[in-house]
């Protein structure tokens, strides 16, 4: 990995307040092309706030946010998209009743013809969808099936393939494996790695350190709105990551408490 170029996304000491609530304070992270940066944290740790800042839904209140070296304050999701930051939300990915190819191009449909004959280029849409999915390693027999008939993991993959196809440089994935089983999670992680191998920078939000450690190059741990730790892959072990993620000594206390009533 080259480290002499500016990171695709770099957050320095970023904070966000909602009124008198400190949602996020002093968080720093960087995302480089061809690398996966994992953001780990429990519920309420500030993961969603962080994602909303990167995705352009909220502006940060303090610190600096750089995209390819240029300092920005994103006004809306369109602004983020124009800068190559695509966000795949866990629930907002697709319209279940619509065919895969219509979902793939939703909002950016290619047309042909002029005036009243201006129409969707359905042939192009179908073949492009099939090819883009194939490039990600997803072999759909029928792109006409409603996307709701795909499994949760496959739908995530279609959403990822869509972001890659539309020229995203940075892919923000909000808990892509949260609602999935073990095998489905594996499939999704494989496609996340495929996106990385195509040269994208990936921000992977998750609360599963095992998934994060499998694919991550950098790890940022959030706890109660502040950054609890920041590691690179070679400076941390899975055990250590899991321990920090689970709350370290808090987990030991919990184990103690839980053991007592379970005794003989």
């Amino acid at each position: 990995m080259t480290t002499d170029t500016a990171p695709l996304v770099q957050l320095d000491d970023v904070s966000k307040y909602y009124g008198n609530i400190r949602a996020l304070e002093g968080v720093s992270l960087e995302v480089r092309a061809g690398e996966i940066t994992c953001v780990l944290g429990d519920n309420g740790a500030g993961k969603s706030t962080l994602i909303k800042i990167v995705a352009g839904l909220h502006r940060h209140d303090a610190g600096t946010f750089r995209v390819e070296g240029e300092e920005v304050s994103l006004a809306n999701p369109r602004d983020a998209l124009d800068r190559g930051i695509a966000t795949v939300y866990q629930d907002l990915a697709v319209v279940p009743l619509m065919p895969v190819w219509r979902n793939f191009f939703l909002g950016s449909e290619p047309t042909k013809g002029k005036g009243p004959l201006k129409r969707l280029d359905t042939g192009l849409m179908r073949t492009t969808t099939r090819e883009a999915l194939l490039r990600m390693g997803i072999d759909l027999r029928d792109v006409d099936q409603p996307i709701g008939t795909l499994s949760g993991g496959e739908r995530q993959c279609v959403a990822i393939a869509r972001a890659v196809h539309f020229g995203a440089k940075v892919l923000v994935l909000d808990e892509p494996t949260a609602a999935l089983g073990v095998k489905q999670s594996g499939v999704v992680l494989k496609y996340v790695a495929a996106a990385r191998d195509q040269g994208l920078g990936v921000v992977l939000i998750t609360h599963n350190p095992h998934h994060a450690f499998l694919v991550g190059d950098r790890f940022v741990l959030l706890k109660r709105g502040v950054m609890a730790a920041s590691h690179t892959k070679d400076s941390v072990t899975l055990d250590e990551l899991t321990r920090q993620m689970a709350g370290g000594s808090e987990l030991d206390d919990l184990r103690h408490e839980l053991e007592r009533p379970a005794g003989p």
């Binding site: 999701p77 369109r78 998209l81 939300y89 629930d91 907002l92 990915a93 697709v94 319209v95 279940p96 009743l97 619509m98 219509r102 191009f105 939703l106 909002g107 950016s108 449909e109 047309t111 201006k118 129409r119 969707l120 359905t122 194939l134 390693g137 997803i138 072999d139 759909l140 027999r141 029928d142 099936q145 409603p146 709701g148 008939t149 795909l150 499994s151 949760g152 993991g153 496959e154 739908r155 089983g181 073990v182 095998k183 489905q184 594996g186 499939v187 494989k190």
Partner: protein, 353 residues
């Protein structure tokens, strides 16, 4: 691409490779939104062909199609709106409003009736835009917004007509300038192969064709499915959800204008109390035609088949010389059957987790 993809985990669907789903041609056919209604239409047709001798006469065909067309003209945009996830309870009285505005404007201004027709178009579209604007601004359910418009229009129709014309119906505009040409556009009768067909049938078929084109072959059509099937997902990928919905309400208004002008020019006077209750019949036609009441699924052709079922049933009962009271029973049973079929389809299509 891994050759040893794991078998599907816990999603209950039987497949060889989790990335390959099996579908049979039969299942594909069953997934067409119109299928249930086409089967229903054939059944209704066969039923009345057997029990009513006069049902199969060419003249009866013209009558049935006319009944279907006056309803079908409105069922098309109402179906599109329903696919877009919304209702319009004001659609029925809006037809009457449109006719009243056209008639009274021409009469009071002593203008060419085409002037009234044009003013009526503007006023009707404005009502549609109002519905859409209120919906997207307030984010209240469309049921409430259009119920409000429905009541207001019902009151305005009666109140303004009495205020201006002095009675509950408008004055005849049959002797006014432009009436013959307007009559031929909106309410003439064509004879095709000895069968008398009303021009509304052409309007109806034209609208079905245009709506089908819009739904399946344009960006706007893609957006209609998207805002009805998942407005948040649509917004997240850049679909102009509000503009799409306002456009759909204006589509309803445009068709209400066509239906309203037909109403005016076929009788040359308009009763101001008409139209109440029709909005539900449009919705019924759309639902029988396979539109999901929750949005995101349906077709314009389905709404036409729904309207045809309505036309055949309402006239078939007359030809069979039954008490017309039975009509509502038929309609209700048809609606229930259609909705059950739709629910089953949706469950199949959305079976995911």
């Amino acid at each position: 691409m891994s050759a040893t993809a794991p078998p599907a985990g816990g999603d209950g669907v039987d497949h060889v490779d989790e990335r390959l789903l099996r579908t049979t041609p039969l299942k594909k056919l069953l997934a067409r939104p119109e299928l249930g209604s086409v089967v229903g239409a054939i059944a209704v047709f066969a039923f009345f062909a057997v029990v009513a001798d006069s049902f199969l006469r060419p003249a009866s065909l013209g009558t049935v199609l006319y009944a279907a067309s006056t309803l079908g003209i409105m069922a098309v945009p109402v179906a599109l709106l329903m696919i877009g996830g919304e209702f319009d309870l004001s659609a029925g009285v809006l037809v009457t409003s449109s006719a009243l505005v056209s008639s009274m404007f021409s009469y009071q201004m002593t203008a060419n009736v085409w002037v009234g027709v044009g003013v009526s178009l503007l006023v009707t579209l404005a009502v549609g835009a109002f519905n859409g604007f209120m919906l997207t601004r307030t984010k209240l359910p469309s049921f409430i917004i259009t119920l409000g418009t429905f009541l207001m229009l019902t009151g305005l129709n009666l109140g303004l007509t009495k205020l201006i014309a002095g009675t509950v119906s408008t004055k005849s505009i049959a002797d006014m300038e432009g009436f013959p040409s307007a009559h031929s556009v909106f309410a003439s009768t064509l004879t095709v192969g000895g069968v008398e067909l009303k021009v509304t049938i052409l309007w109806w078929l034209g609208l079905v064709a245009v709506a089908t084109w819009i739904l399946l072959r344009t960006r706007f059509g893609n957006w209609i499915f998207a805002v009805g099937g998942g407005a948040d997902a649509a917004r997240a990928v850049g679909v102009p959800v509000y503009r799409t919905k306002i456009g759909l309400y204006m589509g309803v208004a445009f068709c209400a204008w066509i239906a309203g002008q037909h109403l005016l020019f076929s009788f040359d006077v308009v009763q101001s109390g008409e139209g109440v209750g029709n909005e539900l019949i449009y919705i019924i036609a759309a639902v029988i035609g396979g539109c999901l009441i929750t949005g995101g699924y349906g077709s314009a052709i389905g709404s036409a088949v729904g309207a045809l079922i309505f036309g055949m049933t309402s006239k078939g009962i007359v030809y069979a010389e039954w008490n017309p009271d039975w009509f509502k029973f038929f309609l209700g049973a048809m609606l229930l059957l259609a909705t059950l079929l739709n629910a089953w389809i949706r469950k199949r299509v959305e079976a995911t987790k």
